[in-house]
Every structure is written in structure tokens, then in C-alpha cells.
């Protein structure tokens, strides 16, 4: 499993996330990142969800050795970061290699900075959050700040195979109209984004899916992310400028959070529908 090691801890370096909500009733504070805007920049740079954990640095930055290659993003205060010997600026994605060392100094222009790693950190949630709350030794890395010698591991995000993007989908209202063969084929088919796609709908080209019918009796509601199956058997994914009702069966849908990744696939790009 890929990991990093803290060579020097810095002044107050801890794992944080968006914080734990709704427990003030029990006098448990929210904790979490102190500069949400900066933290979100790092997460957005890596296309990570807003509740993903990251490392918060304060005033004096840590020195971190990467034992494995990783995609990371740094944001917030400028700590005069250096990757090995090269100066690196905040608010960018860095591709670090095995053995690389990221080191910062005193914070200038601001106090707090963030390091996000593209992978699921191997730490436990407490009350549905990764945020470290020091007084109760709760959350994050053993409930404390990161110290020299600490090893932080993460699970790598599966890289797209041969440039095929995997898109998570869920059964839609007419999922059962699909033939059994089509339900099986779904997991295997590699679709190509057709040049006919536009802001209303993304048209897929691939193996034809068969269904018991391709026409609803009445037009029914449609939301962005719904996947329709017209008589051609080639699915159409309704996008943000799509119609609000439609007459084709809604076989699958994908969640709004997955639309950004989908919408970045170029025309002619490949994707697989991964049925959850």
C-alpha cells in the first residue's frame, strides 16, 4: 500500500476534513479544516469529494517523504514549498515519485496550508468524520498531531484502464425493462462518446442494449444524470441543459457528483458504466 513518512512534523500538522456536524448538543465541536476555502481548492484540484480528509499545516510546514508515487495538491498559505530541490507554488497538482521529499518552511501570506492526496487515507472515521480533535484525542491520526516517523498509508484510486473511464450508475425507474442479456452486457460494454453529443445529452455508442419496450406511455420526469434508452438501443445520458420530461425508458441514472467527470470525457473518449 502506498505511504508517506513524516520526517519533520512542523508546528501543528494534523489530519482534518470538513468536520463533524450536529454534535454540539453533546459538546463535541465540529473541528475540521480552519480554512475551508483553501482546503476545497486542494480537493477540487484532485477531483475529490468535499468530505475527503487532508493534511493541515500551521505556521511551520512539515517535511514529508513519499515512499511511493502519488498525485497530490497543495493549497492555502505559501510555505516556500520545495519538492526535492525545486520550488513549487501552492494551488497546483504535483506528481510526486517514489522517494521524493516535500518540504516547507515558515508560512508567508497566511498561516494555514493543505496537502491533499489522491487516495483513500487509511485512517478511521469517528462520528462520521476524519477531523482531528486534539483535546479528546479524537479522529485523524490516532487523535493527535502528526509526529516524526509517522507513516500515513492510502489506497490508490484505480487508474483508468487503457483510458477507459469508469462511471458509477444506479438502476433507474425502468431498469427492469432491460433484457437479462442487456443487464449482463452493461458491465462489459465499452462505450464511446458520440460526436452527436451536446449540452442536452451525451450520446453513447456501443453494443446495442435490448429492452422490452423503448417508449413510455406518458412522458415522465427526467433529471440530469438520467440514462435513457431510445429504440436504437444506444443510451443517452441527460446532462445539465437536458429536457425535464421524456418518453424513453430511464434505465439507469448517475449521481450529480459524477457528472463533472463524465462531462470531461472528450468526444470519441471511452467509458464503462459500472452498475452499483
Amino acid at each position: 500500500m502506498p505511504s508517506l513518512e513524516i520526517l519533520k512534523p512542523g508546528l501543528l500538522t494534523s489530519i482534518q476534513d470538513i468536520g463533524r456536524q450536529g454534535l454540539s448538543f453533546f459538546a463535541i465541536p465540529r473541528a475540521g479544516v480552519l480554512d475551508q476555502n483553501a482546503a476545497q481548492i486542494a480537493l477540487l484540484l484532485l477531483n475529490l469529494p468535499m468530505d475527503h480528509p487532508l493534511i493541515e499545516c500551521t505556521s511551520i510546514a512539515p517535511h514529508i517523504q513519499f515512499n511511493d508515487a502519488a498525485r497530490i495538491a497543495i493549497s492555502g498559505a505559501d510555505f516556500n514549498w520545495k519538492l526535492n530541490d525545486a520550488a513549487v507554488h501552492p494551488n497546483q497538482v504535483l506528481h510526486v515519485n517514489e522517494g521524493d521529499i516535500l518540504r516547507g518552511q515558515f508560512a508567508k501570506q497566511g498561516l494555514r496550508g493543505y496537502i491533499a492526496i489522491d487516495g483513500a487515507l487509511r485512517i478511521n472515521k469517528m462520528y462520521n468524520s476524519f477531523a482531528t480533535y486534539l483535546p479528546a484525542k479524537m479522529g485523524g491520526y490516532q487523535g493527535r498531531t502528526l509526529q516524526k516517523g509517522d507513516i500515513l498509508e492510502w489506497e490508490e484510486q484505480p487508474a483508468p484502464q487503457d483510458g477507459i473511464v469508469s462511471i458509477s450508475v444506479l438502476p433507474g425507474p425502468e431498469f427492469n425493462w432491460l433484457s437479462n442479456a442487456a443487464k449482463d452486457e452493461l458491465r462489459e460494454v465499452v462505450y464511446v462518446v458520440s460526436a452527436d453529443s451536446n449540452r442536452m445529452g451525451l450520446r453513447l455508442k456501443g453494443t446495442t442494449l435490448t429492452a422490452s419496450s423503448y417508449q413510455l406511455q406518458n412522458s415522465a420526469p427526467v433529471l440530469p444524470g438520467f440514462i435513457q434508452l431510445p429504440p436504437s438501443g444506444q443510451p443517452i445520458i441527460v446532462l445539465q441543459s437536458g429536457q425535464t420530461t421524456g418518453g424513453y425508458p430511464r434505465i439507469l441514472y448517475l449521481r450529480p457528483n459524477d457528472l463533472p467527470m463524465l462531462n470531461q470525457i472528450p468526444l470519441g473518449g471511452k467509458l464503462r458504466l459500472n452498475l452499483m
Partner: protein, 231 residues
């Protein structure tokens, strides 16, 4: 998907919950379903981001504020009966669009008889959808329910009136379309500078009125709204 039932206003509703992402509400009584959908939209529940009302389903797009107990909040909704009785007259210039040929052939009627049947029909707004301002009107006589075109026309002019299956449609914007165009309406239906952008509500009754080209041109020139026309 989890399915439960809910009783609102003496109406049995089937509620399908898709992973707390969205709900589909269904009812046997279509008029009631539309009323309930309208009322849910007006209530502005904090756990609902979007309401889409159709004849067969009401779709509620949920957000993170939704929890199972939110369903009982739906019982707060009030249905105002007086708002439902409105009738709007909709003038139509039945021009000589080439699509008439298919309509006459399917119905086996003269153009004059088709127009008479349309004027006598009790139409009502079944739903919004497709594009902003598009109206799905139901109540079309069976004889006029021409199945949709197999290959949709690439361009249908804004304000076209068209027949497609069980619906009579009003195209408020230029768009592609798979229905048979039989006329043009001169009135303004959509106003994107106001909220609501459309003054009609699903369930409203519509009466078509045949007008001649001169009246059509005049109403069009004056940009008369459907509300002013019926005032």
C-alpha cells in the same frame, strides 16, 4: 429502490425512493396527482431541490436534508381548490402547414371538421416539460391522436401548435419536434424575466379558438400575453 405508500388528501400515493437521490410519487387519480405535485412545489420544502410534475409521476429531487421522516412533512401541504378552476382561451391560426396532410389522412376528417373537434375539446394542461414554456395539453379526441413522426423534424417554429399521440403541444421556443404542426398561436406564454415564468398551472383548462390570419398578426404584433387575452 424502496417503495412505500402514503395517503395524502384521501389519495393513495405510491412513493418510490431511489437511494435518497430522488422520489417518484404515483397515484391512480391523475388529476389528484397533478394537484398534489403543484402543492408540493408551492410549499418549498427544504429537502427538495426540484419538483417535476407529469401526469403519471411527480419527481422530487432530494438533497442532504431529506430523511425518512420528511415524508410526513408532505402531509402539511394544502390544496387550494379555487385556483384549479381556471379556464384559458387559446387562439390558434390553423394555417396550411404541410403536416396537415398526415393529420387528415389519419383522422379521415376534413380540415374544417378537425378544427371543429379541437374547438369543442375540453383540453387541460397535463404538464410542463421538454423545453421551457412547452405545454402538454390533454383531452384530444381519439380520432386526432396521430402517432408521433418516426423521424422528428429538425426545426419547428416557436409558437407552433402540434399533435403528437395523446397530446396537443404548444412549442414556445424554436426546437426540433416529432409532432404534427397544425397551426400557430399568437400569444406570449413564457416570460423568462419573471418567476413563475409561466402563469398557467398543470390542471388548468384550455379552450382553443380558431382565428384568422389578420387577428393572428395583430395579436402577435401587440405581444399579447395569455393572461391579458383572458382578462
Amino acid at each position: 429502490m424502496r417503495s412505500t405508500s402514503l395517503r395524502l388528501f384521501n389519495t393513495d400515493l405510491q412513493v418510490e425512493n431511489y437511494n435518497d437521490d430522488f422520489l417518484l410519487l404515483k397515484a391512480k387519480d391523475r388529476d389528484r396527482l397533478i394537484q398534489i405535485g403543484n402543492a408540493i412545489y408551492q410549499q418549498e420544502f427544504n429537502f427538495i431541490d426540484e419538483v417535476i410534475v407529469t401526469e403519471v409521476e411527480v419527481c422530487l429531487k432530494l438533497n442532504k436534508h431529506f430523511e425518512d421522516s420528511s415524508l410526513t412533512d408532505l402531509e402539511q401541504i394544502k390544496i387550494s381548490e379555487e385556483a384549479l378552476a381556471r379556464t384559458f382561451r387559446l387562439p390558434v391560426f390553423f394555417n396550411d402547414h404541410e403536416d396537415w396532410e398526415a393529420v387528415l389522412e389519419y383522422s379521415n376528417l376534413t380540415k374544417r371538421a378537425v378544427i371543429e373537434q379541437l374547438e369543442q375539446s375540453d383540453l387541460s394542461l397535463a404538464m410542463f416539460g421538454f423545453l421551457p414554456g412547452f405545454l402538454y395539453l390533454r383531452g384530444l379526441p381519439e380520432q386526432l391522436q396521430v402517432p408521433r413522426k418516426t423521424v422528428p423534424a429538425k426545426y419547428v417554429k416557436a409558437k407552433s401548435i402540434a399533435i403528437g399521440g395523446q397530446y396537443l403541444g404548444c412549442y414556445t421556443l424554436d426546437s426540433p419536434g416529432g409532432w404534427y404542426v397544425i397551426g400557430q398561436m399568437p400569444l406570449q406564454i413564457l416570460n423568462v424575466e419573471e418567476l413563475p415564468p409561466i402563469q398557467l398551472k398543470p390542471g388548468d383548462k384550455i379552450k382553443l379558438e380558431s382565428i384568422d390570419q389578420e387577428t393572428y398578426d395583430e395579436l402577435l404584433k401587440k405581444s399579447v400575453t395569455i393572461i391579458d387575452y383572458n382578462a
